[in-house]
Symmetry: C2
Subunit: 277 residues, 2 copies
C-alpha cells in the first residue's frame, strides 16, 4: 500500500492511500481520517460513501466531518466511487462508469471485470483497513450522500449486525424506479430486475428492514428530489414500523453545503450508537 | 451584481456573486456567507483573504468556517485573489499574475491596469457589501491564509481602527526578504523598495504596529516555513511589545487541513472581539 499524502488535521491524521484491489482488478485510492485517539489504540470507524462524479477526495475536503470525528474519537473512511484507470471501462455520461459505480458487483459486459464496488466497500477494503490501521473492525457505522446514501442503506440492510448505525444525506432511495438507477442497474446487472433487489433501499426496506438506528436528512429544495424518491422510502419505513428519523430540511439543496450543515448531527448520531463519549 | 449561486448552509446562505469592479477594471467574483442572524438585521463581517493560486472558492468550500460563523452570527467574505479574464495580464508562474495579486495596487507594466487588490479588498468591495447585504460596516474583522495572511496583516496595520481583530494562518510575514515577495513586489511595485513598506508585515510591525487583538497560527511542519519567515514577524512583535498570540502548531503543514483545524479558534477570537455572544 502506497501513502499518497498525510496531513495533520484536528489533532489526528488525514491520509490518502493507494493499493491494488483484488476484487476491482486495479489500483484503488481511499481517504482515511484517524482521530487523535487512534494513537492510544483501535478506534471505531464511520464509512462515508460518496455520490456520482466524486472521488475519495470530495467529502474528505468539503464535508467538514473531521472536526466532529476528532472530538468523539471516530475514524472516517472515504472510498472512491468506482474503479478507475486506462484499462477500466467508462462511459461519456457522468452517471455511468467511472465515478458512478453504484455500489454493485457488475455482471455485464463491459463492466464486470472491474466494477465490483459492493465487494470492495463491503469486504475487501474493511479487511485492508483492519490489517493496516488502528481501526476496531467490530465497531463500524456507515453513511453516504446521494448514490453513496444508496450504497450505505443497501449494504447495511444486506449485512445485518455489521453496522451499529446507518445514516444518509439525500440518498437515492428507490433506484429501480428512477432514472438514477434503472439505467445503471440495467447496465451493470442486466435487464432482469429480479437481480436488482438488494440494490434498492425501498425494496429492501419492504423485504427485510434494518436492524440498526437510522437517520436520514433530505434537502427540501434539492434539485434532484424527483430522482431521489424519498417518498417511496419513507412510505416503506412507516409501513414496516421501521425505527428511523427522517428530516426534510427546508431550503437545502443537494450540495456539500447541505451535507456539511448536518454533518455534526450525523457524526454525533453514529458516535452515540458506537458508545463513544 | 449577478448572483452566481446561493446555497443554504448552516441555517444561513452561502452566496457567490459577480460584479464589475471599478478599481480592477474587470468582473470580480466573491463568496459571501450570511448567517441566519442576518435575517433579523445587519451582522458583523469577517474577511478571509486567500493564498496563492486560490479563487474565492477554496476557503469557502474547504475551511469549514461557516459552521462556527453561524453559531456566533458572523458573516464571512471570501474575495478572489486577483483580477481575472482574457484582458488581464498573467504570468506562467503560479506565484505571479492571476491568482497571485498579493493585495497591492500595481504601478508597473503590465500589471497596473487591473491589479488593484489593495483598493479592491480595502475599499471597493466593503462598500459593495455595505450597499447590498445585511452587513454592519462598523463591525469588521480580518483573517487570511499565506498570501492572504500577508494581506490581512498589512491592510489592518495601514487602516487603524478599521478591524476589531486580526488573525492569520501561516501568513507570508516578511515578503521583502523572501522569494514569496521580492519577485512580486518588484513586478507589481517596481524595484524601489521604499515603495514596498506598507506591504511587508514585519516592516509595518516595526514601524507602526497594530491597534487590534492579533492571533496567528503557524504549522510547525509547514513545507514553506523558509518562505513565510514567521521568525522575523515574531521578533518584531516581541521587540515592539505588540499584544499578540502566536502559536506554532506541532506537526501541521500549509494545507487547508491546517486552516480548518484551527478555524473554530479564529472565528471565536473574532466573534469575541466583535462582541458577539
Amino acid at each position: 500500500m502506497e501513502t499518497i499524502s498525510e496531513n495533520r488535521a484536528f489533532g489526528g491524521v488525514q491520509g490518502v492511500y493507494r493499493h491494488q484491489s483484488q476484487v476491482c482488478g486495479c489500483d484503488m485510492t481511499f481517504g482515511l481520517y484517524l482521530p487523535p485517539q487512534a494513537e492510544a489504540g483501535p478506534v471505531p470507524l464511520l464509512w462515508y460513501l460518496s455520490g456520482l462524479t466524486c472521488t475519495h477526495e470530495n467529502a474528505m475536503v468539503k464535508a467538514g466531518a473531521q472536526d466532529y470525528a476528532a472530538r468523539r474519537g471516530l475514524a472516517l473512511c472515504f472510498p472512491d466511487t468506482s474503479p478507475r484507470g486506462d484499462g477500466v471501462a467508462d462511459d461519456e455520461a457522468y452517471d455511468l462508469g467511472q465515478g458512478a459505480g453504484f455500489y454493485v458487483d457488475a455482471t455485464e459486459t463491459p463492466w464486470s471485470p472491474h466494477f465490483k464496488m459492493w465487494s470492495y466497500v463491503g469486504d475487501e477494503l474493511p479487511r485492508i483497513l483492519d490489517a493496516n490501521f488502528a481501526i476496531d473492525p467490530e465497531r463500524q457505522a456507515i453513511t453516504g450522500h446521494s448514490m453513496g446514501g444508496h450504497g450505505a442503506l443497501t449494504l447495511a440492510m444486506a449485512n445485518p449486525g455489521r453496522f451499529a448505525s446507518v445514516s444518509g444525506f439525500a440518498p437515492i432511495s428507490h433506484p429501480s424506479a428512477s432514472d438514477w438507477g434503472r439505467k445503471q442497474l440495467t447496465a451493470y446487472l442486466g435487464a432482469d430486475e429480479t437481480n436488482w433487489g438488494r440494490h434498492d433501499a425501498t425494496l429492501q426496506m419492504r423485504a427485510v428492514g434494518l436492524d440498526a438506528p437510522l437517520l436520514i436528512d433530505q434537502g427540501g429544495s434539492d434539485q434532484f428530489l424527483n430522482l431521489l424518491k424519498p417518498e417511496a422510502l419513507v412510505e416503506a419505513m412507516a409501513t414496516r414500523r421501521q425505527p428511523n428519523t427522517f428530516r426534510m430540511q427546508k431550503g437545502y439543496d443537494h450540495s456539500y453545503f447541505f451535507v456539511a450543515s448536518f454533518m455534526a448531527d450525523h457524526v454525533a448520531f453514529h458516535a452515540d450508537a458506537l458508545g463513544l463519549r
